[in-house]
């Protein structure tokens, strides 16, 4: 069952890489935006909130097209990043990671935001009186307390990356070894006669990877939970 073709192995490796990068790269933004939405009071907060939710609301194909139009080689952001930073997304694995990150972003932000809103702000005040500046309060009190939300957000983002293909395939196509992630490969199998067995095989691999990630995250969360346990 595990006799995968080299292209399929590539897809597995790429999916993990893309999933991890999507998760890791979106984390700081996810935390920042979640903080803004949970704590901030500013004009346009509803707008920001809406924009964050867009990838959830839009059909993935539309998200993919919008990414293609803005981050593509000829898109305004894509060409800017390419010119000034040498970062290229179009038809690279980085683009797949970007697409997955974007698709998982609303999930990550929600999870983190829920945790932030549950933080007892009196603890932050206590840290302040002990001399911790807002940044230190965040690092030493808020961040540890919202770890459950961060873990949940990360696992949602990773799981989403393992299943996302609509936006990915639309944005960076389905090039084996470069942008062909597991779900894209699965999709391809479903498009041809006799592809079911192949699709099934890859699906099982995808599930196995995600389950492993889930189990690790649950163990981690349980650890945190025990520490925070309010006996």
């Amino acid at each position: 069952m595990l006799d995968l073709t080299p292209d399929e192995w590539n897809a597995v490796r790429l999916s993990i890489k893309v999933g991890l990068w999507a998760m890791a790269a979106s984390l700081p933004f996810g935390i920042a935006i979640a903080l803004l939405l949970a704590r901030g009071k500013f004009w346009g907060k509803s707008l920001l909130n809406g924009v964050v939710h867009l990838p959830l609301i839009l059909p993935p194909v539309v998200t993919g097209y919008l990414l293609l139009l803005s981050f593509g080689r000829r898109g305004p952001i894509g060409s800017f990043l390419d010119e000034y930073f040498g970062i290229v997304f179009s038809f690279r694995w980085t683009g797949a990671a970007l697409a997955c990150a974007v698709m998982g972003f609303p999930l990550m932000v929600r999870a983190i935001r829920l945790s932030i809103e549950a933080v007892d702000r009196r603890l932050e005040a206590a840290a302040g009186t002990l001399g911790a500046s807002p940044l230190w309060v965040f690092l030493t009190v808020t961040l540890p307390l919202i770890l459950p939300g961060i873990v949940a957000g990360m696992i949602l983002s990773f799981a989403k990356a393992m299943g996302e293909f609509g936006a990915t395939i639309t944005f960076v196509s389905n090039i084996p070894g470069e942008t062909q992630t597991l779900p894209s490969a699965i999709y391809t199998f479903t498009q041809v006669p006799g592809g079911d067995a192949g699709a099934m095989r890859l699906t099982l691999i995808s599930i196995a990877i995600s389950m492993a990630a889930l189990v690790v995250s649950e163990m981690f969360a349980r650890r945190i939970g025990q520490r925070l346990d309010i006996g």
Binding site: G75, F91, T170, N174, I175, G177, Q191, V192, P193
Partner: protein, 239 residues
């Protein structure tokens, strides 16, 4: 993916055939092709946005024309490569029989079931199917009973699982799917010709793209395509 590979953007339904052809090409010429399979629409828009594709194989003429109109296909490089047929299928345990001709009683065959086919606006097989049914004069009687699927494979699944008693799909799909049987074949003149065109993109820098397109029209390729149920529209060229 090694640099120097020919990058082929091909409609997803070609995967089986094209993978075989690519393998043969590699065996013969030592050169590799990398295929990216997706919906023709997505591929066309990606090429429009500067995708590194050398060759585009579309599932219909519309998306090829879309690119050609934008001068994104090398002038004169496009070839009508493959053809296909659309057929009426039923679950393999179905007793349905149909003689597809003008005004045949499709509605009666469906009963209170639905006719699965590709999206009649978006999916080529759906468009062809609708054209055929209109030409045969039965469209109006079944219009309300269509289940439009995202693509022809999904339509096939609806039939093979028994969800829909009948469906219109490509012959290539029907012959390979054990869960369905072909109830009838639509006359070739009942719909616009089903064509898979191929073309070299205007931005292609690959020296081998032209050779690859040529190989697609070779005798070996023809054999492999036909093994998957396609018909070869382009005349065979020899290397």
């Amino acid at each position: 993916r090694a640099d120097g590979d020919v990058v082929v953007f091909a409609a997803a339904s070609l995967k089986n055939a094209l993978d075989a052809v690519d393998a043969a090409w590699k065996a013969e010429s030592g050169k590799s092709a990398t295929a990216s399979y997706a919906a023709s629409s997505a591929l066309a828009k990606q090429i429009e946005e500067g995708a590194p594709a050398d060759v585009f194989i579309s599932a219909d003429l519309d998306w090829m024309k879309y690119l050609a109109d934008k001068k994104l296909i090398k002038d004169g490089s496009d070839v009508k490569l493959l053809g296909n047929r659309i057929v009426l299928v039923a679950p393999k345990d179905s007793a349905a029989k149909a003689d597809i001709a003008a005004n045949f009683d499709l509605a009666a065959l469906l009963g209170d079931g639905r006719l699965a086919m590709g999206d009649v606006k978006a999916v080529p097989a759906g468009k062809y199917g609708k054209a055929a049914l209109e030409k045969l004069g039965v469209w109006s009687s079944v219009e309300g009973k269509i289940a439009q699927a995202e693509n022809v494979r999904a339509a096939l699944k609806l039939v093979s699982t028994g969800e829909a008693p009948l469906g219109i799909v490509y012959q290539t799909d029907a012959t390979a799917e054990p869960g369905v049987k072909v109830v009838g074949v639509f006359p070739e003149d009942s719909h616009p010709p089903i064509v898979y065109p191929v073309g070299v993109t205007a931005d292609s820098k690959s020296a081998d793209a032209a050779a690859y397109v040529k190989y697609l029209q070779s005798a070996k390729a023809k054999e492999l395509f036909e093994a998957q149920g396609f018909t070869m529209l382009a005349p065979v060229v020899s290397n």
